[in-house]
Every structure is written in structure tokens, then in C-alpha cells.
Amino acid sequence: MEPILQSIHISKYFGSFCALDDVNISIERGKIFGLLGPNGAGKTTLIRIITRIYAADNGRVLFDGKELSESDVLKIGYLPEERGLYKKMKVGEQLLYLARLKGVPTSQAKERIRHWFRRLDMTDWWEKKVDELSKGMQQKVQFIASIIHEPRLIILDEPFTGFDPVNANIIKNEILRLRENGATIIFSTHRMESVEELCDHIALINKSKKILDGPKLKIKEEHKENIFDIEHQGDLGTLNHNLQVISSKIIRDDIYKSTIHSENEITHNDLLKILIDRVEVRSFYERLPSINDIFIKRVQEVTS
């Protein structure tokens, strides 16, 4: 299936400063796409090009396979990292205004706002002024504002900042539900645990260049270091020269927990064969690197 959004050789300069250098990304429909990168890497610039706030100096953005146009903006929902609302305006009125700007007819917008108020447990908020709300409550309003027009592509820049764990969880479930209903989500964050949890696909941008891109699991596979955690009965002893026991300790009676590193690629079955001959294998799994590790490793590689 054709990707919902593609950026092709996107470059953007601010004066002589290069904010994005030949960035290609391709975002598949119905997936959660994690856009990662250290501060100042160019994530926000890329997002602003996708939302047509900036125009790229070079390259093209395709939406549904066609050149991104003015009307596509209505199909995109954007929750910026730096958020804000009109402080003196009432919540209901404000959401209605933002929905109308996104082209939703008044009656439909009102219906949807009420729907979201019920869903997110804020039924009596319509008449409240924004500056009467707590920061977390304002974030909820902002979240609704970014999806009220039922966009097909939702861009969330650090959506969880300002939320307590309970509300963060509510928002997380809403994001997953939006994906189930067919929306595609670009998710930009520093919080790697939420990337692990939510993202199907990630791209890593560092110093204006894309340095990593692919399905999350595939990237993990690519970055695995052939380390295995094994629980077994009986002592492993020494293995052949390609396999190295990094650690091995008794957890009870004759039961050990060991970590093995293989210098070569080795299939699980091959390793198991070696182990089964020696010990009783109680559990066995390959340790995959966390996104956090990959992130740090790749960023440091570029820096050094």
C-alpha cells in the first residue's frame, strides 16, 4: 500500500544554518511512526514542513502519493511541543473555533467536542475558561484540539509532557485507539519507554540528517549483539571459543542464570543444541537492545 506521507530529499536552511539535510522518510498508513532525535536535530523543522508552516528549500512532500497541498492541512492534526491556548476563552468556544478553522461545520464540531468531553471525563468544562484549568487539564483540551477534525495523519510532539501517570495512560490508550480506527500517527518524543510501547516504525534524526529508519523490531534485530539470557540447571562449564559466558550465577539450588555472548551470528536453534547437550535449559531468550540504547549509541557514533 502506498504510504500516507513521504518526504523526498527534504532540505531546509535558516540563513547559512542547515536544519534538514536531504531527509527521506516514508510513513505507512495505520502505523505509529516514532520520530526521534536529540534536541535541535531538526525534528520540529521536519514537522513544520509536513504541516506546511515552513516550505522546504529542496525536495518534495507527498501526501497520499500527491504533492502536499493546502487542502491536505485539514487532514493533518498537529499537537506542537510548545502548546498554548487562548487563556481568556472558554474551553468549549475555543475548541469550536479551532475545529472551525480546520473546516469542521459548527454542528458537527459541537457534537464531537461533547463526545470527547464525555470520553475524557470533562463533561462540565464547556463554560470553563482556560486559565482556570490546571496544566494537565489544558493538555487534554489541547489534545482534543489536535484531533477534533478527525485527521488521517496525527502529529504528536511530546504528547505526554505535563500529564500525570493516570492521564498519560488515558492519552496513550486514546492514541492506540486512534490507530485502530485507521489514523496514522507521527510521534515525536524523547521518552524512549513510550517509543518501545507505541511505535511500529522509527526514524532517528541527528544533526539535520536521518541516520536510522525502519520498523522498530527490525532495527532492534539489526542492532542486536548476540547476547542471550539463559536459566538452566547444572553448570555450563566452558563453551567453545566463539561463545563466551559473560556472567553466571546460582539463583537457587542448582539453578543458574547466565548471560552468553556469541561472537558470530548464531541461530537460536544452533545455540540451543549446544546448550541442551550440557545443561537442562529452563528458559532462553535473546537480549534485544532497547531503543534507548540504540538511540544513544547511534547519536554518539555520529558525534565522535
Binding site: R48, T51, R52, I53, Y54, A55, D57, V73, L74, I76, Y78, P80, E82, R83, G84, L85, Y86, K87, K88, M89, Y97, L98, R100, L101, K102, Q142, A145, S146
Partner: protein
Amino acid sequence: MKKIWLIVKREYSTRVRKKSFVVMSLITPLLLVMVMVVPMWLATRDVPAKEILVDDESGLFKDKFQDDNLVEFEYYEQPLSVAKEIAFTSGKYGVLHIPKIDVYHPQGITLITEYSASIEVKMNLERQIDHVIEDYKLEISGIDKEKLDQIKTSVSIETNIINESGQEQEIHTEVAYVVGYLGSFLIYILIFAYGIQTMRGVIEEKTNRIVEVIISSVKPYQLMAGKIIGIGGVGLTQFLIWIFLTFMFYSAVGLYMNLDQLQQVNDSAVVQMGAMNSQNTEMVKDFFDKIDNIPFGFLIGVFIFYFIGAYLFYGSLFAAIGSAVDSESDAQQFQLPVTLPLIFSLVVLAAILRDPHGDLAVWLSIIPFTSPIVMMMRFPFIMNDPGWDLFVSMGVLVLSIVITIWMAAKIYRIGILTYGTKPTYKMLFKWIFAKN
């Protein structure tokens, strides 16, 4: 267009619903009407005439003073100390003590009152004393008073102008003067108030950070245009409410006091004001008559044109400033060059008045930075026969608006997303010519 309209509606409705807007809209015309009506009412209030005891040692003034509705005289020939006592025990207003005087150097005349004497009474007495002494001098010089009165002359020149079709039209310099000043000040105040509001609105959106949400839905220029139009609409609404309410209040007062009475009030106010001499009376009466000769429709039309023009011109500059800075205090350095021409236009009004058709006046009413205020000052002098300069002025203003809005939009587009740097003029200049 639909989106701009949505923004206009929000900007307009949030401001018009504010308490401060409602209060300002009601209070200003009320004050205006009060300023017009209260002095008239005060002037016609029935106040008992003040009784003044005249203690005349010179003997020149006996029975010469004339009673009017302000003062009444009683003559008394007793030592001053006795007169004083009698005056204050019997509740008289005061004692006018006239010592023996040299009529050529009259000195030492005193009015002794319990409370400080009103300026009205003092002026009335001075006038009457002058008259008596003058009459006395005429008599001792052997000049016939009637002859002198015949010789005295008072001419009032009518100021008419000839328009192109050769018809003469009457204008009144004083009326033009007042109308011009009012129009200029009104433009100045409205532009200042609503220009600054535009700037604040932009800064608010920027510091609120809502601007990024909005411009992911609309183009920056649409947001800017919507804001400028919306706030300008508020200004126009305020102006129209002022005009309407002033008229309503004035009519209501008129009905209440009933129109004839109001006319009387008007006339008597005129008499009161012009009581000093008949020439003034004529002039003031004339003034009130000539107000009716002003083509109010044309005047208000031109005013609205220049208000909208000036507002768009300055409003877009203010919006650009707002977008470039992070806070209002940062805005000050950029505000000055924008407000300077406004203040200059006001300062230069006196010079414009001296020669409303001179080179200075014509040029300043064409240059768009000064034209709205200066033209409002000049307009009453040219309204009966507007020449090419009015149309050139309007044309130049429209053209300049296109340019300033274009420039402002360029600055705005980059400015609203630029945080944390204090912009310089050089940067703003760069932004104007930056592509994308």
C-alpha cells in the same frame, strides 16, 4: 477567505464582549453630551441676584450701576466699617468700596466679600465701573456720547469661497477649525488605541504559543489579516456607537428639556458667552448656525475612509512589531519609529491650520504616515470643494497600505515562530526579503 472570516469573528466578538469595551462605548458619549449640556444648564439656572452694597466715597457712581440677573446694587453712605457690618449681618453678598479716585488712574477700588468673589461678579463689576468712568470722562471732555456711538464700528467679514461652478458657498473658519481638530484627534486616539491592541493581540498569541496550532490550520497572512480586520472592526464599531449614542443622548436631553427650551438654553448660553460685547455674540450665534451647514455625511464618510486607511497602515506595522518580539517591553524600541509620525502629525496641526492650503499642509496630507490625521484637519477647509489633493492622498494611502501589509506579512510569518532572539532592524529587513 472563510478562514479569515472565522478569525475576524473571534477577534471581534471576544473584544466587543469585554466589559471595558461596553463601558468605554457608553461613557464617552455621555461625557461628550454632558460637556455640551451641563454648561448650558448651569448658565440658565435661576440663581438669585447677588446684592452688593456700594460704599461710594467718590460720589461718581451713585445710581449709575445697572441691576441685572447677576447682581443688584444698593447704595450706602456710611463709613466702611459700618457698611461692612450691615452687609454681613443682613446677608448681602459683599461691599464694593470705592474711595475718592483719580478717574485717569482709578485705584483702590475693593470688593469685600465673606467668601471669595466669583469671577463672574468681578468681571461684571469691572465692566460697569469702566462704563461709568468712561461716560464721566466723555462728559468732562465735552464729547457727545450719542455721536461717539455712531462713530463706533463693528464689521464681521463673511468668509465665502467660490467653487468651480462659480457658486459662492459660505464656510465658517471657526467651525472648520473645531471640526478639523475633533476629526484629527479622534483618528489619533483610535489608531493609537487599536494599533496597540493589535500588537498586544499578536504578542499574546505568540507568548501563549497558540500561534503554532493556528498556523497549522491557516496561513500566517490569514491570521494576521483576520486579526487586523477584527480589531479594526471593533474600533469602527466603537466610533459608530459614539456617534449614534452622542446623537441619541443629545436628542434625549433635548426632548427632556423640550426643544424650544433647548434652543432658549442655546441662545442664552450664547448670550452669556458673548455678553462682553455684541460682536462676540454675533460670532457665536453664527457658529451655532453654521454647524448645520457642514455636509455631515461626506465628513463621516471621509473620516471612516481615513480611519480604516490609517488603521490598516499602522495596524499592520504594529502587527509586524508584535510578531517580531517576545514581550511588550521588547516592543518599545520598534514602537517608537511607528508612533513618531503619529505624534508628529498632531504637533504639526497648528502649522496646518495657519495655512491649510499651503505646501506643507498639502504634502503632509499626501504622505501616508501623516496623511490621515493631517487630512482630517484640512478636510473641513476643503470639503465644499475638494481638489485633486484629496484624491491623490487617498490613492497614495491605499497604495501604501498594500505595501505595508505585504511587508508586515513577511515579517509576521517568520517573527511569530522566532523565540528568544531580540530582533534587530537588520534582521527585520532580512525577513522582508527572505523567500518562503
